[in-house]
């Protein structure tokens, strides 16, 4: 094992001159303030660190590609078997996409907090004084990116399996809906994932908490996507009020979640 001496960060403390006429501060406080250059990053930087760490874990473990995407794909196919008639499938396709997204959200959230709990990393972050709001936002960002990838794949699957078409005039509404719904789902999932992570029955507690809470997203996103795709005669302008609902939902849960996350995981 290597034990070669290297510079200890603590060794960079300035040596105080006993003859100095400067006002004497609490000597022990000098221990803390005399840290080496490169101070602690702000909350946003920590959030990006946490998000990139989560995405790096996904790159290594490939849970999204090897487990979640196949699960969501199978769900879409099962829906197709259950609702055999083409006309029915076309009418309900937007709702099926979001239902499959909700179920997959549960798997992603379980995974996002399993990696934190496996060796006590989330506790270690709190013990280390890492800002809980930054942890929440980081987990939300990491989860949101994975959800967005999933939703794009599911929409593509809907085009192939359910004979959906995406009209050009609906693209902006579709993209806006995906982003705002993703933010809302990720905000709820991260909040309840953190809460459920501390309980023994978390596998059943998480769906019980999350699915009712994301019902407004399911309704709003389904109606907005129906408008974007022109399903059952809907027009694009019908979708924007639903996007407004999705944005309000995402902001409310995002702000509330960032405030509540620390006390919830500390409990």
């Amino acid at each position: 094992m290597s034990t070669e001496p290297t510079r200890d960060p603590a060794a960079t403390e300035p040596i105080r001159d006993p003859s100095s006429t400067e006002p004497v501060r609490d000597p022990a406080a000098t221990h803390v303030s005399a840290r080496p250059a490169g101070g602690p990053p702000g909350a946003w930087r920590i959030a990006l660190l946490v998000a990139s760490k989560d995405l790096r874990i996904e790159v290594h473990s490939r849970v999204l590609t090897n487990q979640v995407l196949p699960f969501a794909g199978v769900t879409m196919v099962i829906f197709a078997f259950a609702l055999d008639a083409d006309s029915v499938l076309q009418r309900v396709a937007p709702g099926l996409v979001w239902l499959a997204t909700m179920f997959s959200l549960l798997v992603l959230v379980q995974r996002a907090f399993a990696v934190e709990a496996e060796d006590g990393a989330l506790d270690a972050m709190r013990v280390a004084g890492v800002d809980a709001r930054a942890i929440y936002l980081g987990k939300l960002l990491g989860l949101g990116v994975q959800l967005l990838v999933l939703e794009v794949v599911l929409l593509f699957a809907a085009v192939v399996l359910y004979s959906q078409t995406v009209p050009l005039e609906g693209v902006v509404l579709l993209v806006t809906t995906l982003i705002s719904a993703t933010c809302g789902l990720a905000a709820v999932g991260t909040l309840y994932g953190g809460l459920a992570a501390g309980f023994r029955g978390r596998e059943t507690l998480l769906p019980l908490l999350t699915l009712p809470a994301v019902a407004p997203v399911l309704i709003g996103a389904t109606r907005a996507v129906e408008a974007a795709l022109g399903t059952a005669g809907a027009v694009v302008s019908d979708g924007w009020p639903w996007v407004g609902l999705l944005v309000v939902f995402a902001v409310a849960f995002g702000v509330g979640g960032s405030l509540a996350f620390g006390p919830l995981i500390d409990e």
């Binding site: 960060p9 040596i15 609490d26 000597p27 060796d119 270690a124 972050m125």
Partner: protein, 231 residues
């Protein structure tokens, strides 16, 4: 086993008040868990560079003492400071200056050793030099750096956790049963890492039941009995 008291070691650069001020200072500290007083008037002073062993039976208050010093358990009565920060009013600040290592290592098992150390170092803005230095001093540089933590032995995972503490610039290390689950060779490696860290200025408080092993590591031992500290 009682280890004889000795003068705390001080590094060459430790001159001035900062070096002589106690890293941990508890005076009649009381900590309450629920309705139960887990610490009942503990007094303890630990200086920089010391390795202090807390010994005592189960339920004596060793872990609570560590958690109090880590800012995780509130100080109900008495006085206490860690690195000059008041345990009653500055617990959040205390947390960011100490490293608490319990039965779990706080690592991401699907990340490599280097990714873990980089992540923990980045939470305090550590430089590349500090991160590679932390890995070198913990013996997890070179061939272990790119190995996923899940594939490491228990001892290697423990050393990775110590590298993370170093990268986090933890000044006070609070270790709860650090030798648990390690074989003899891994324990030797762990002790070497801890001695090296103490020589470099880290202060270490260890709670352990393995008195022979931890006693040979410590520069001083104190007994914790029924929530009270007997130096």
């Amino acid at each position: 086993m009682n280890v004889p008291s000795s003068r705390p070691p001080t590094a060459d650069h430790d001159t001035g008040d900062a070096a002589t001020a106690p890293v941990v200072r508890l005076v009649d500290a009381v900590a309450v868990l629920g309705q139960f007083p887990a610490l009942a008037g503990a007094s303890l002073t630990v200086h920089r560079g010391e390795i202090v062993l807390l010994q005592g039976p189960n339920g004596a208050g060793k872990t609570t003492l560590l958690r109090l010093c880590a800012g995780l358990v509130p100080l109900a009565r008495g006085e206490g400071s860690v690195l000059g920060l008041d345990l009653a009013t500055q617990r959040e600040a205390v947390r960011s200056t100490v490293g608490l290592l319990g039965h779990q290592n706080g690592l991401y098992l699907d990340l490599t050793v280097e990714e873990n150390v980089r992540f923990w170092g980045a939470t305090v803005g550590a430089t590349d030099d500090e991160i590679s230095g932390a890995m070198g001093r913990s013996g997890v540089a070179d061939r272990l750096a790119d190995v996923t933590v899940r594939r490491l032995s228990a001892g290697q995972q423990r050393r990775t956790a110590l590298a993370c503490l170093l990268a986090r610039r933890a000044r006070l290390w609070l270790l709860d049963e650090p030798h648990a689950g390690l074989d003899a060779s891994a324990r030797d490696d762990l002790d070497a890492t801890l001695r090296s860290a103490a020589r470099q200025g880290a202060t270490i408080v260890v709670a352990s039941h393995e008195l022979e092993r931890a006693g040979s590591l410590a520069t001083r031992s104190v007994d914790v009995v029924a929530g009270q500290v007997h130096a």
